[in-house]
Amino acid sequence: MALLKIKFTQQRRVHLAQGLWLLSWMAVMWGGVIFCLGVYLKTELLRRAEVMDNTEIHVVPNILMMVGLASIGTNWVASRVCQDSLDPTRFPRWKVPLLAWFAVATVLCCLLIAVVALSYALQGSLEESLKVGLRNGIRFYKDTDVPGRCFQKETIDRLQMEFRCCGNNNFKDWFEVQWVSNRYLDFTSKDVKDRIRSNVDNRYLLDGVPFSCCNPTSPRPCLRYHLTDNNAHFNYDYQSEELNLYSRGCRQALTDYYMELMNSTGPGVLSVILIQLSVLLSLRYLQTAVETAMVLEDPEGDSEGYLLEKGVKETIEDLKINALTMLKFGQVDPNAAEGSSEVADAEKDEKDAPPSPAS
């Protein structure tokens, strides 16, 4: 009751081996592509590491890089197996490594599916990380004389100009922090004293934004100060003015950018999953067909290839029994407790397991 049995003539076996060799080299190439995608994603995330609070999102490119490298190695091994498969003297040495290979290939496919799921699941975490990172960046904008924070101003300015965004959620975030350092404030001036006294924390708050929020597509020279005061500027209405500053928040801009990046790797990852699965299945067929052919009297004759020797349920039962046998290793052989199928294998167990002394 083998699963998905297919008959293979010698000719078909040869074709299968050749086709699989090509397929596995293609899979090696795609593994390299996945690795490069992972490296690219990681460098993009590292570039803006200063405005991110945690590195949870880095698990996506890390897995991509790992899977890429593992896939290169795995598929290279598959191509070597194909080369040896038609040679009856060299093929038997692959018998045990192939089991390990199948396990590794299955794990790789699962990891790739996990990466696709993670890249959607971690969007919330990315947003949180950006929210905190940007809030800190805006808060420390003025601290250009504090070691460790002196480049925050340049980072935030560059970010706002490059991504065409302003503030965390929007430009009003700048109204809530003091972004002009005290060393540039004239404390003898009435205006400064009034502003500092107007709030609890004695911060110099103003309804103005840095120059990097300015939108170059505005027909009017940029208005940066007294933004909420319609009378401060001629022919200006704060509510309806849209082009003066960037209206998007930087958190939204960065999240969109990274999500787009990760979505664009989606098709690549899916095709690698498909290729890896087809390599897996083809190699299994090749292995079983060649092994069956080797035990026949006529090695050049027809043989059968299958995915599993017995049906799915029986294979799982077998695996369970084997696993339990290994666990029972070292104990007195007890009465059969798991059902009739084990009784039939009990003798086999007694033969297989070395005689264990009663402990």
Binding site: M161, S212, C214, P219, F234
Partner: protein, 366 residues
């Protein structure tokens, strides 16, 4: 007295033909490279077309594009010829074409050299063009409501942000023009009216710059207005303040950018020229050695190959004579009755004057 004579055995001739075939195909690739370099330069110049005044600088990329395409065609033909030269029968097909081909290619390599030199000479024209173009662009910065100029503000802002520059020569260029449109000026305010009256042309001039001049690296929030007024800002001295605004002028920044591109392109074109010249030398040797083999009759023997059959001076003289004879082709050669071997004294014929004057109609003859 051949120039650079070399001996070629049959094997060496065949090898030379094969090597030249490969080299010609590599030359096709370098021709494509030239073409793409010309295209790249053209695209780069057109990208900033709004900032350049009308000047004749398009001829450099156009020349490079044309030279690249012609190089591809010439070297493709050269490859075909060299491929056929291994077989002497096929060589006979090309025998008559080869010499004109070599001469054409020789003059073409001059074009390549001229193209390379033009890359270096373009700088002066480019500087002039940028100077005028940037002055105009800064002057029309405020005209965002005039069709045809409405995107100039954005272009200038993006330029200053991207190239880290301000104004034409420096940030003071912005003090001399009105960059705030009248529709954003409150004409009822005294300050505005004073400024407008303070100069002859009635322009609203101020010591302020647009936001795109602000320097990212400044530790201080950008000071755009009252830049030269030390007392307008706390703890500020505009003479020593170097990090507030971009100090470089945009003309200098753009010129440096383009010069860098053109120097790289010029170097590549020079290397291509040297390569083409060496391939041409190989083809010339191949042609002369094959012709000598045919002249000797025995196809498997050694033959000589050279660059010029006689010395340089003799060849030049012979060619000049040929050209002169071609020029005299339509005239009756009255000096020697058309035959250069007969030395007929000129007194035996009617004398119509100097040789190279065309015959005039004699009125009495009609």
């Amino acid at each position: 007295m051949a120039v650079l004579r070399l001996k070629f055995t049959k094997n060496e001739r065949d090898k030379l033909a094969q090597v030249l075939w490969i080299l010609n195909w590599i030359s096709v690739l370098t021709g494509i490279l030239l073409f793409s370099l010309g295209l790249f330069l053209k695209v780069e110049i057109n990208k900033r077309g709004e900032l350049m005044a009308e000047r004749d600088i398009q001829y450099v990329p156009n020349m490079l594009i044309a030279v690249g395409l012609i190089a591809c065609a010439i070297n493709f033909l050269g490859g075909k010829i060299c491929y056929d030269c291994v077989d002497t029968n096929k060589f006979l097909r090309w025998k008559l074409i080869m010499l004109p081909y070599i001469i054409c290619t020789f003059f073409f390599t001059f074009c390549v050299l001229v193209g390379a030199l033009m890359c270096y000479s373009m700088r002066g024209e480019l500087e002039e063009s940028l100077n005028l173009g940037l002055t105009e662009a800064i002057r029309f910065y405020k005209d965002t409501d005039t069709p045809g100029r409405c995107f100039l503000k954005r272009t200038v802002d993006m330029l200053q942000m991207e190239f880290h520059c301000c104004g034409n020569n420096g940030y003071k260029d912005w003090f001399q023009i009105q960059w705030i449109s009248n529709r954003y000026l409150d004409m009822s305010q005294k300050e505005v009216v004073d400024r407008l009256r303070s100069n002859v042309e009635g322009k609203y001039l101020m010591s302020g710059v647009p936001f795109s001049c602000c320097n990212l690296n400044s530790p201080r929030p950008c000071i755009q207005q009252h830049v030269t007024n030390n007392s307008a800002h706390f703890n500020y001295e505009h003479q020593t303040e170097a990090l507030n605004l971009w100090m470089r002028g945009c003309r200098e920044a753009l010129l440096e950018y383009y010069t860098h591109i053109m120097q790289s392109i010029g170097l590549t074109v020079l290397l291509t020229w040297l390569f083409e010249l060496s391939v041409l030398t190989g083809v010339r040797y191949l042609q002369t050695s094959l012709e000598n083999v045919l002249r000797q009759g025995d196809l498997n023997s050694e033959s000589d190959g050279w660059l010029l059959e006689n010395s340089f001076m003799e060849t030049a003289r012979t060619n000049l004579n040929i050209i002169k004879c071609l020029g005299k082709g339509n005239q009756i050669d009255t000096a020697n009755n058309g035959d250069p071997n007969i030395n007929v004294p000129s007194t035996s014929k009617a004398h119509y004057g100097p040789d190279n004057v065309p015959l005039k109609e004699i009125p009495e003859a009609s």
